[in-house]
Subunit: 102 residues, 2 copies
DNA sequence: CAGTTATATGCTTGTCAAGGCATATAAAAT
DNA sequence: ATTTTATATGCCTTGACAAGCATATAACTG
């Protein structure tokens, strides 16, 4: 999985991230929350793990997954220039016009 | 294509959006910039158009595409709670601690 | 009208990925 | 040691989708 953009394409992974945002959780509980069978969840958790968006901690038989949100910065950064289109659009425009008047 | 997350999964579409961010452009020029053949570009532009991320203007034989960034807000909104993990993490933590002390 | 330019669409193929099911692995409990 | 609990992995089927090529559409040009 090259870029983290592809990671967010799958709704299951987005829901997993949203769930992990609430705090670390074992696989079984995540499967329960998302109402999906365990192997499906394990596979998606692996994808998130290998992409660096989640990390695991072992507790007896349980594997407790934890959010690692740093990888999402790539997306946030890509989005930044677009954000200006709906935030402070006028400010940016005014600044541009001022520069042009010089 | 249900959500705009899936739209960004494809690098060609991301590059198209980046290109359109510079200003409206006809199909041919976009194909040239991305160094891809025209049908491929037309298809991806259609996807962007139907998702509401781009709009077209007719000029003689040319179809001039224009960015419509509002659809990206869905992604930005989803990303917002994660952004706090790397922006102002301490501030949020401090506020939480203050509340807990009451 | 014939020809040319710009773009869209149809068809086909290759690729990849998600989830279901069965099974392997590993630790805990009895 | 056997059984139970928790998770991972392998195999398989199915669906989606991107791009190449050929072709259709539509507007401009001479």
């Amino acid at each position: 999985m090259a870029s983290s953009f592809a990671l967010l394409a799958d709704p299951t992974r987005r829901r997993l991230l949203d769930e992990l945002r609430m705090g670390e959780q074992p696989v079984g509980k995540l499967a329960q929350q998302l109402n999906m069978n365990q192997p499906a969840i394990s596979k998606q958790l692996r994808v998130l793990r290998e992409a660096g968006l989640a990390s695991v901690r072992v507790d007896a038989q349980q594997r407790i997954y934890r959010l690692n949100p740093d990888g999402l910065r790539e997306i946030d950064d890509w989005l930044a220039p677009y954000r200006e289109f709906w935030e402070g659009r006028l400010d940016a425009m005014e600044r541009t016009l001022e520069l042009m008047e010089d």
